[in-house]
Each structure stands twice: as C-alpha cells, then as structure tokens.
C-alpha cells in the first residue's frame, strides 16, 4: 500500500494536548510542513513562550526553547543574531504577543530581525481559562469581561498586522485563517513565505492566524468556526498587510 498522506517529519509522534476543535493542531502541521518543504529542520530553532502552545517543544522535532511570557521575540533576537545560519521562528498567542510582549514584538519588528513569527489570534486567553485578551472583540464575553468587553472600560482590541505593517523593518505581515480548507491552503502559503523570507534574508515576517477556542468560547467546534467567520474576520480582515516584494506576491495571486 502506498502512503499518500503522512505526518510531517518536523512533528514528533507525541499526542497533542489541545482541546477538541482547537486550531493549534492545524497551524502546527502547517509550520511543520513548511519546515519539511524547505528542508531546514536540522537547522531550525523554534521558540514557544507561555500560552496554550507552551508545550510546542513536545510537538516540533526541531530544537526548541520555551520562553517567558511575551519574550520570545527577544529570545529569537539573541538566537538569530548569534547564529544567523539558523532558521528561527516564534509561535505566540495574542496575550503573549500583543499584551505582555508588545514591546518585544514591536521592537524586533522595527529592527527588522530576520525571524518568522507565527501569531495565533483567538481573541481569548486559553491557557488560563478564558480571560480577556488584547484582541478580545468589543462586546465579547470572557471570564474577566463577564458583561462583554466595553471599550470605554476595557479599551479597544489591537489589530496587530495593521500596526506592524507601518514599521520599516517588517518584510511581510499577513493575516490568514484556518476555518476552511481554502483558507488553510492560503495560510500554508503565507507561513511558507514567512519562512522563505528568513532563509532569503529579507527580514521580519509575521503571519497572524485567526484561530478558534471552542472550550473557552463555550461553543462546539463547528459553531466556533462560524463565530470566527461572523465576528473575527469582519474586525480582523484577512489579507497581506505588507510585503516588500509585493510585485511578486501579486503575480503569485494571479
């Protein structure tokens, strides 16, 4: 019998701890596929800070570092600057990247660190059990916004790709989703490009992936995908926000 579909080599055999319907598993697979396709597992170092993906070191087969909450871009800077031959990526959630680690995110971006950031935006703190994230939508109920997020009290959400795309050091900023097979394919392309940019020395790439958290949203996996489409995509439109080789990108799109 011939194998037509296999687990990427860059993923280990360990069982993932993610909840049913959570899209972390899909994104892990896409990252691992990109590493496989570029043939760089032997020289890749992944950095996963505090958050639901903190155990990513158990799932990726490349060398891995578990970092403090929000500090992955600084750790990645230290790693990449001392070992430019390595492929260095971070895998961060919304609280990590856009709240406690905002300074590290913005400054690694504006310095144009030649790294790849995979940013999981699911509008909620998953690991600690469903508190408000910097990306929690206006009106969204979480355990720390039990009456819904009120921008007058809890402030407004952060649109990360829009913010970072204004910085000179950013080579590529794209927002994708993994809610449909078509969107998964687009996400894969973006992630692959993010890694390829680094290998080509183009600078900072960030791929924001809109993701679901059925457990903390209190929805079934299927309902969660609908909620993402109906609520998240209108506030966080999908697309490429910055691409220093936009000419090429347009060609690819055609």
């Amino acid at each position: 019998m011939s194998i037509v579909f296999d687990k990427p080599h860059a993923l280990t055999d360990n069982l993932m701890h993610y909840c049913p319907g959570c899209t972390h598993g899909i994104v892990h697979r896409l990252v691992a596929e990109a590493i496989d396709e570029l043939g760089v597992e032997d020289r890749t170092v992944g950095i996963a800070p505090v958050g639901c993906a903190v155990f990513a070191y158990n799932y990726f087969a490349c060398d891995m570092i578990e970092a403090a909450h929000g500090r992955a871009p600084a750790v990645a800077t230290g790693m990449k600057r001392t070992h430019p031959e390595l492929v260095v990526f971070t895998y961060q959630g919304d609280g990590d990247l856009a709240a406690i680690g905002t300074a590290e995110t913005v400054h690694s971006a504006t310095r144009g660190e030649n790294i790849t950031i995979i940013f999981i935006n699911n509008c909620i703190y998953g690991m600690t059990g469903g508190q408000m994230a910097p990306t929690t939508l206006p009106g969204q109920i979480t355990t720390t916004t039990p009456y819904g997020r009120n921008p007058k009290i809890q402030g407004n959400p952060v649109r990360v790709c829009e913010l970072l795309s204004t910085l000179d050091g950013v080579a590529y900023a794209a927002r994708v989703s993994v809610d449909t097979p078509a969107n998964v394919r687009t996400a894969k392309k973006a992630i692959l490009k993010g890694f390829k940019n680094q290998i080509d020395g183009k600078g900072f790439s960030i791929i924001e992936v809109l993701s679901t958290c059925p457990t903390n949203w209190g929805l079934s996996p299927v309902e969660a995908l609908s909620w993402l489409r109906e609520n998240m995509i209108p506030y966080y439109p999908l697309g490429v926000y910055k691409d220093i080789d936009s000419g090429e990108a347009e060609k690819e799109a055609k």
Partner: protein
C-alpha cells in the same frame, strides 16, 4: 601584557571580550553606561555585536536566546534596571543556562540615586528571581578584579550552567586603576551538548525549558540543581584576609567598602586595637567556614556595608551567633570615611574592654 589605565566599567567590557564574549545586550543606565559605550565601540572591531535593547527585560531575554545556542553573552545594568531583569534571570536558572549579569549598584529603593551602593546584596544573594534558586555572586573591589572576576564569571557560568552576577558598585565602576588583562588563567570548560543550535540531523532535538507540569519532575530538577549548588559551595568560595591572625575585631566587607575597611584596620592598629578584615569575593557562596573559624579566636565582628545592613545577617549565621556581630554602614550613595569606620572599631573595643 602591560598594565593599562582603565575605568572599572571599561575593564569589565574589555575582560568580557577577552573571555570570548562577543555578544552584549544592554540598556543605558547610570553609573554603568560606559560598559555599553565601550562594547558599542569595540564589538564591531572584534567581529562581535553590541545591541541596545528596547528594555532591560528584552536585553536579558536576548542573552537567554544567545546562551540557548551555546554562545557566551552578557548584559549589564544598575540597580533599577537589574530589578527588571529578574524574570529573565529566574528563567535562565530554570533552564540551566550560563550567563553573566553585571550590576554596578546605585542607591535605592525606587529610582534612588546615582551614587555608589551595596544595597542590592539581599537581591543578588537571596532573591534575584522567583523559585528555589541561587546565583554565583562575585564582588570585585579593584579595577583589576573587575577584569579578572569578569573572566572568571564566564567560566563559572559555563562550568555550572548558571547565571553569574558580578556585583560591583558605582565607585569601582567609575574609578580608574591599572589593569593587567593577562592576569587570569582560563579554566577547562565542558562541552555544550545541550545547546539548541539545530539538531543537524544527527541527534534528537534539544529542548531548553523551565516548565514541568508534574510536581515530582520539577522537584527532581530543582534537587539536581541543588546538588550543583553544594558543589559550588564546596569548591568555589573565595575571600581575602588582612591582619586576621591575631585580630580581636574582624571587619567583614566587600567591594569598595573593603578598601575603606583596609585603611580603617590600619588606623585602628595604630591605636593599639587588634583589628582585621575578611573580604568575601564570592558573596554566594559566602565564606561561612572562614568566618566560623575566625570566630574561634576573634572576639567580635563588624560588618561594614553601603546599606542599612544586609550582609550582617550572613555574618551572624556564619559564626553561629557565637560572637557579637555589629554593623556600620551608610546608605543612599553616601560613602563612609576610613576614620568613621576606625571610630566605630574604637567604640567596639571600649565596649568589649579591649582598650589597653
């Protein structure tokens, strides 16, 4: 190599480069900014990198990233900035990563002042980060030691896979003295087979991590680290003594204060008081045995510090409270004169009935 006249802060920077540290991550703060400035000038010429981070927090995490790859790296700051690095220091410890962190202390708490201080003694030796942990803490008292202990710090960090603190103060950081950079013999170092720099297809992936969800696993890693700490305590204690053999009153002081005490001891001796000085060079591990042995013959101890009295508790513990341990100190950036300390020694001698 000939001696060169240098500022203490610059001696640290040059010594780090001599020790093969080609990566420096820092953030400006008085009175240690000369380290950053020296690194910025020198690193490009030796093929290294001096990167000014967006914060002290980022700087220590850049060191963590560099160290994860098995590369020597350092950061430096002064008291308020040192507090910001504490999260990263705890992660370095929990991940068993070598690193050198320099604290050129200034007065606190809060923004405090910019004059010399030793008030971060507790922080450095007892609680620089959350969790069960120790750090090796080295206390230079001359510009020469700023250089030699910096080299030693990198070796100790690699040998024991631990962050090492160079606890200096604004006085030694800013003063100029002759330095000989060849004065130290580097140690034999272990292979860094744990580093995350790509598995190269030749081994299982390495993981740098401080997270253990199973309490027994976490307990085991902490206990393993404490076995290493016991070894450090047994093998790495360093101190210096001056006129302690027949001393009735032994001053205990480190860094700039030890130099003040050195003069004070001589002044007291001239007045017929048998004073002496023990200068801890490692603040952790603390020279407990040496102080305890001195307690066999000395009648009292005097801890002299640029603080309200922190090391004094360690002196009491070291001598098992067998002898009275007194304290003299100034804080906030005020530096005592040798005569002030000598006067205190005279007063102690009178109290103890030691005046002839």
């Amino acid at each position: 190599m000939a001696k060169v006249l240098m500022k203490g802060n610059e001696a640290i920077a040059e010594a780090a480069i001599n020790a093969g540290c080609l990566y420096y991550f820092g953030y400006p703060i008085t009175p240690q900014t000369e380290i950053s400035e020296y690194m910025a000038k020198r690193m490009p010429k030796v093929g290294g990198l001096c990167l000014q981070a967006e914060s002290e927090i980022a700087a220590i995490n850049m060191v963590l990233g560099a160290s994860s790859g098995g590369t020597r790296a350092m950061t430096s700051s002064s008291s308020p900035g040192i507090s910001l690095k504490s999260e990263g220091v705890s992660y370095l410890v929990g991940s068993d990563l070598p690193a050198v962190i320099v604290n050129v202390q200034r007065g606190g708490p809060g923004l405090g002042g910019i004059q010399p201080s030793q008030a971060d003694y507790y922080q450095a030796t007892k609680a620089y980060g959350h969790g069960d942990m120790h750090l090796i803490v080295l206390a230079p008292s001359t510009v020469q030691e700023m250089a030699s202990l910096t080299g030693e710090a990198f070796d100790l960090a690699d040998i024991y896979r631990t962050p090492v603190i160079l606890l200096a103060d604004g006085a030694i950081g800013q003063m100029m003295e002759p330095v000989d950079f060849s004065a130290r013999t580097p140690r034999e170092l272990p292979e860094k087979d744990w580093a995350t720099r790509g598995h190269g297809g030749s081994r299982k992936h390495n993981i740098i991590n401080s997270l253990y969800m199973n309490p027994e696993d976490l307990e085991r890693t902490v206990e393993e680290r404490y076995v290493r700490y016991r070894k450090i305590e047994a093998e790495e204690v360093k101190y210096d003594t001056f006129m302690t053999d027949d001393a009735d009153i032994v001053c205990v002081a480190f860094g700039i204060t030890a130099r003040i005490c050195h003069t004070a001891v001589t002044m007291a001796r001239a007045k017929g008081i048998k004073a002496g000085l023990i200068r801890p060079i490692t603040l952790w591990p603390f020279p407990n045995d040496a102080i305890n042995t001195l307690a066999d013959t000395a009648k009292a101890f005097l801890s002299v510090e640029l603080s309200m009295g922190q090391m004094v508790t360690d002196v009491k513990l070291a001598c098992g409270c067998r002898r009275p341990v007194d304290f003299y100190g100034r804080t906030g950036g005020v530096i005592p004169n040798p005569a002030d300390v000598a006067k205190k020694l005279e007063a102690m001698a009178s109290e103890l009935g030691l005046r002839s």
